[in-house]
Symmetry: C2
Subunit: 382 residues, 2 copies
């Protein structure tokens, strides 16, 4: 069992100006911290989360031994990001459905649940909100770390608050989404929005949940998180009947609607589970934040120009079988940083697990991160 | 404008025994022929179609100048498959919604529309039905040709009717689907089946069409037909506003539901168009036929053993950026055929268009097919 943690929250009167032109007032951020902030407040590590995660990065809640945080294998006492040395902060992003202010909460302006009226939030907006919470905690300089969409937030920190970020650890991420990435997001969104139970995003007041759409969205997501290889290894063309021993694994059922292959069973299960706890409006908001992130955009697509202002030291990690955020995308970032003569460490890990690899245990991956944080710790004690 | 053609149809009393154990009686096959069958009936080429296609392979219908068949660039007078030399037959598969007996037709056993009760059909069943039609046309030996799912039918012909198939031309195909392929099919099916308008597959009698599901299915399909590269080249991160000149291309709309990127506009358009003409039950049937195809299955997964009985000469073609049916899958087939000392020509075309490449003009691809058919023509006249 991991160490015990307590979720916290902090309220802000705002208004927080958003990139869309809208503003948020009276908002709350859920967060957790692990370890101890040192005397000169120099050992803070902010961990940013991706689509389906939260401020609960590591540890377990009291009395819930199986409630490990989503990066509990990476962060904790004696782990690669060692909470005996570092003060780690996880913050739930605005628009989420896991504690921070989001579409399920009351809009103070109307007294009604936000629903689809929750303003569009961007990676940059999240970073601004995170920075305000760190201000309140008395933390000026820090390391920022994240995988996937969390990596985009780490990248954005180095551009929005260059003087504050000493180190950025960016895992399985990209400088922006490709057309194919956006396309998958769009199909997922259309599945949700065209579910009759979506009710234009105001389904809460109808007492329904667009579960059909959420299931489809999650199934699509899952396919893109895994590699073709690992799916073949885990499921291949195995029949469900073979697993259940029903037909001695020899016979097709010959049905278009029943589950025939194990991969179908797995995807349906994942979709069902997700639709029970994830908010549909949050799904739209977070996929849109992914779509919009593109720091090179205001530099005419020139990534090198975009990163001219970053002064952090960088560790980038990618995984060979990740086709959602491929190594080529990380290499674009490495090149832009090297063009600017920044300090960059880059590891391309030959792992079979696709995009999901960033959440899994891989000895080489864990060693790379551990070494990087050990070097950071030495800098601190020097 | 292409040459004019006339669709035909032929009815069969059956019963046609299906792999599922069910049987079809009183069924009709829609078909077209181009060119002239020679005196010794040796110049026939059967062209098998994939998911979203039909017997209308080439040519145009009278008075409809833009009604070109789906492989009109490949097949016709003077084209790579030259109808001045070959007698080409296109047959619409059972279960389709384009003319042959399918879910939209009346079940003679009940007097009601089949709907979801149309029996599950397999690639092998389609080949049996095609063989009966060729019997009726007086054609014994032939060449069989197809791309994608059509290629699977060509492969199955060489196993089900080895003595009849002189040549098999198999483009952008595979010996079976991977877990990832099945996964994408399953998501598309779930989108259709969970659309409230699906009504368990008997939506016709309710006067509705599960268009939401069909749209999602088509959007997913489209993403997998294209390569990441060609999507980036065609759409990239281009905003719709830039195309429409609205905001001088600089501004995001900041919306989760409106179209923001061109790729979204394209996918929605493709989905809408498809949902207007394609039958939902047909979509389920055809994707299931894809899932089920696996000739090595009854040989314990040994593809070489499966192809021991094939005696045809083979041309296989794959495309480097096809991630749906990758070149590696074609190479598995080449290996199995070479293990059996079969005559195999194999071309791996470096084309950027993904799976869709098999339908497009690529000089090298067209030349490869043309050369192969010229060799075939020489064999005939020898």
């Amino acid at each position: 069992m991991s160490f015990e943690v307590l979720p916290q929250s902090m309220s802000f009167a705002g208004p927080l100006a958003l990139r869309s032109g809208a503003a948020l007032r009276d908002y709350t951020l859920a967060y957790e911290t692990y370890g101890t902030l040192n005397a000169d407040r120099s050992n803070a590590v902010l961990v940013c989360h991706a689509l389906n995660a939260s401020h609960h990065v590591a540890g377990v809640y009291a009395g819930q031994p199986r409630s490990e945080g989503w990066w509990d294998n990476m962060i904790g006492p004696g782990k690669p990001v060692d909470t005996n040395r570092f003060f780690v902060i996880g913050i739930n992003n605005l628009g989420s459905c896991f504690g921070s202010t989001g579409p399920m909460h009351i809009d103070p302006a109307t007294g009604r649940v936000y629903g689809a009226d929750f303003p569009v939030v961007t990676v940059e907006d999240w970073v601004d909100a995170q920075a305000l919470l760190l201000d309140a905690l008395g933390i000026d300089t820090l390391a920022v770390m994240g995988g996937s969409l969390g990596g985009m937030q780490a990248l954005s920190w180095t551009l929005q608050y260059p003087a504050r970020v000493k180190h950025a650890v960016v895992v399985a991420s990209a400088p922006n989404l490709t057309a194919e990435n956006i396309a998958f997001n769009e199909v997922a969104r259309r599945a949700i929005v065209t579910d009759p139970d979506f009710n234009g995003g105001h389904f809460y007041e109808h007492g329904v949940i667009p579960k059909r759409g959420l299931r489809i969205a999650r199934m699509i997501g899952h396919i893109t998180y895994l590699s073709d290889d690992v799916m073949n290894e885990k499921f291949g063309r195995q029949l469900r009947s073979a697993v259940e021993g029903e037909l001695a694994g020899t016979g097709y059922r010959y049905s278009t609607q029943d589950i025939e292959f194990q991969i179908e069973s797995y995807l349906r299960y994942q979709g069902d589970k997700f639709s029970e706890y994830f908010d549909a409006n949050t799904y739209l908001l977070i996929t849109r934040a992914l779509d919009y992130f593109d720091p090179a955009r205001e530099h005419g697509g020139d990534l090198t120009a975009a990163f001219a202002k970053a002064t952090a030291k960088f560790l980038l990690v990618s995984f060979t079988t990740d086709w959602r955020f491929s190594p080529a995308r990380s290499r674009e970032l490495v090149k832009a940083l090297l063009d600017n003569r920044r300090s960059v460490s880059y590891a391309e890990i030959d792992a079979p697990h696709g995009h999901d690899a960033f959440l899994l245990d891989d000895v080489r991956y864990m060693c790379v991160v551990r070494s990087y944080f050990e070097r950071m710790a030495k800098e601190l004690s020097a």
